[in-house]
């Protein structure tokens, strides 16, 4: 039960004199939702970028599923089973909603490189059905033929989530999945994430909205100025005076 899926060990990252991460240690356990919170500039996004291969740590290593992934390319890390939702939705804006999801499904099925130059997309019925099922699940099915760029901001985020979910990742990283969403959209997203949680998918979630954090997280890590200042189950974090001071006090509306 307590298998460690992602193990961040002694990671340091320095940006031209600014210590973005200092000696960060993090163990993400299988099937859990792990929230990383902290004030702006605490190094949360940097931590995520180190995990997906966008940034290389100065020292330390990241191990996923028993294998060191530091130094690997982003597409290799994804193929290993890590999917990521970005802070600003990264989608294929020129493609239809359905094609967005199909690209992700093809990447999962065919690996990082497989041309299939002479197969017709129409004959990829299995991929298409899978895409429709995921879109249905996230309430995007009726927009499937729309261009992704014409979706609302909340739907774009949901589409990005759909692209990650269709890959059935072992670990899902979410960078502020509800930022800029209305309360209604936020609650919908929470519902979706809760449903995913029931399926046992491991998640790391970075979030400012405490409502989201406390409704989803099994474990919370608090970052401030690149260092972990507290760690524990939600009830404990809520009562921790150090955290109150560094973060919660100011941000609690």
């Amino acid at each position: 039960m307590d298998t460690v899926v992602l193990d961040v060990a002694d990671v340091n990252k320095n940006f031209a004199g600014l210590q973005a991460l200092s000696n960060v240690n993090l163990k993400i356990k299988e099937g859990k939702t792990h929230a990383v919170i902290g004030p702006n500039g605490a190094g949360k996004s940097t931590l995520l970028n180190v995990c997906v291969g966008r940034l290389q740590p100065d020292t330390g290593s990241v191990t996923f599923d028993g294998e060191i992934i530091t130094g690997k390319k982003p597409y290799e890390i994804n193929q290993a089973g890590v999917a990521r939702v970005f802070q600003t939705p990264e989608i294929f804006a020129d493609l239809s909603v359905e094609h967005n999801v199909m690209v992700a499904a093809l990447a999962k099925r065919d690996g990082s490189f497989h041309p299939h130059a002479f197969r017709n997309l129409v004959s990829e019925t299995a991929i298409h059905d899978e895409a429709l099922a995921v879109l249905e699940d996230l309430g995007l099915k009726r927009m499937r033929e729309m261009k992704a760029e014409s979706l609302s901001r909340g739907d774009k985020r949901r589409l990005e989530l759909a692209m990650c979910l269709i890959q059935h990742p072992r670990l899902l990283l979410l960078d502020e999945p509800t930022a800029g969403m209305s309360r209604h959209d936020t609650n919908q997203t929470i519902d979706v994430l809760k449903r995913i949680k029931e399926r046992g998918m491991t998640k790391v979630i970075i979030e400012h909205d405490m409502h989201v954090v406390f409704s989803l997280a099994d474990w919370i890590t608090v970052l401030a100025q690149g260092a972990i200042i507290a760690e524990g189950p939600p009830e404990e974090i809520r009562g921790n005076p150090k955290v109150q001071e560094a973060y919660l006090g100011g941000a609690h509306e």
Binding site: A83, I91, L95, H99, L106, G111, F113, P115, L121
Partner: protein, 381 residues
């Protein structure tokens, strides 16, 4: 717009396209363009544009060096004529393959960068090829004179089967002369085949991933796809299309010169693609036809012809009208092309095909909105 279409619909579309291409000598006659020399150019640059579109239209990588592949194709084809046989089949195959080899090397280097840096790298490498053709490589390219067929060439295979002649031989396809209409139909068949391949690529998962690269390469990386080999394949395919076009130029006129590789030639291909509509199936071909039509017909208009056109006006008005319009025809056809290009980029970023689509979309819902689509219609006709 790019909703998946059924394969049957595609086959019908290709059939119609084949019919349009093969009947060009008939329907282009009223435009004064139905002579073999120009018809050959229409289809050859059509192939070029179809290939370029696979790179630029799908992946968005703007190459300024495709004329180099055209030149490589031409030189290779002429060398095949000189050394082995005047039969066009080996020339076309080797021309295409040689361009493919060049594309692998140039693509491997240039695709390490994207955006404007990629464009500049391709431009630099193509200019390098052009300059080498004039300097170090003159033994292969024959420098400024250009590579020509001579009666004294060895032509090993032909020498075994045919009587040696004093005359400069012409290119053939197993006895069919490839310089006139024969050449046109040969190139037309090549265009139809290459168009078919391009439709298949557009409709395949490969094509979808290429479009995803254009849309958001970053996302694709985090979606588990290694974009570099996809880009290289697209680059090599389009390079081979250019090599095929180059060798067909040599088939219809067995002479290869380095001016074919100059950057203006590369620029022309970019213009064709954008004018017609990058990323659409027919757009680039349409663009190629329009530019070649302008280059050959419009540029031949002279004052006498203009006086004829404006003869219905009173004398003074006529001379004014001729004086103004003379700037836009003949030598000034570049000016017309430039203006047209500007209008299209500003008002129809999707090219002429977008114009057609808009017109169709307006006509379809019946007479509901009959606002005259003046600008589009003028540009589209």
């Amino acid at each position: 717009m790019m909703i998946t279409r059924s394969p049957r619909h595609d086959m019908m579309m290709i059939g119609v396209f084949a019919l349009v291409v093969l009947t060009m000598p008939i329907w282009l006659a009223p435009f004064g363009a139905a002579y073999p020399d120009l018809l050959q150019k229409f289809v050859i640059f059509g192939i070029m544009a179809v290939g370029y579109n696979i790179l630029f239209g799908l992946t968005g990588y703007l190459s300024f060096g495709h004329a180099a592949f055209l030149g490589v194709g031409s030189y290779s084809a002429v060398w095949m004529f000189k050394l082995f046989t005047m039969n066009v089949i080996p020339a076309v195959i080797i021309g295409t393959l040689m361009a493919g080899v060049f594309a692998v090397v140039i693509g491997y280097v240039c695709l390490r960068r994207s955006g404007i840096y990629f464009s500049i790298l391709t431009l630099a490498l193509a200019q390098m090829c052009y300059n080498l053709a004039y300097s170090v490589l003159t033994p292969i390219t024959n420098g400024e004179t250009g590579l020509q067929i001579r009666p004294t060439d060895p032509r090993i295979i032909d020498a075994m089967f045919l009587e040696p002649t004093e005359r400069v031989p012409t290119t053939t396809l197993f006895g069919i002369d490839m310089t006139g209409y024969g050449g046109f139909y040969f190139c037309a068949v090549a265009l139809i085949i290459t168009f078919f391949i391009s439709v298949r690529i557009f409709r395949s998962p490969f094509g979808l991933k290429l479009r995803a690269i254009k849309s958001n390469q970053n996302r694709l990386n985090y979606t588990g796809i290694n974009t570099r080999p996809y880009l290289l394949i697209a680059f090599v395919i389009s390079g081979m299309y250019a090599g095929l076009a180059g060798s067909l130029l040599a088939v219809t006129d067995p002479l290869a010169g380095a001016e074919r590789m100059q950057w203006t030639a590369s620029g022309e291909i970019v213009l064709m693609t954008i004018l017609g509509g990058a990323g659409t199936l027919f757009g680039p071909i349409l663009g190629a036809w329009i530019i070649k039509y302008f280059e050959n017909i419009f540029s031949a208009f002279n004052d006498g012809r203009l006086h004829e056109i404006f003869s219905f006006l009173p004398d003074t008005l006529e001379s004014i009208a001729v004086g103004i319009s003379a700037q836009f025809v003949g030598e000034g056809w570049h000016l017309t092309l430039g203006l047209m290009f500007m209008l299209i980029v500003i008002f129809l970023p999707g090219g002429l095909i977008e114009g057609f689509n808009r017109i169709v979309a307006r006509l379809r819902p019946g007479q509901a909105r009959r606002r005259a689509p003046a600008v589009e219609e003028k540009e589209a006709s």
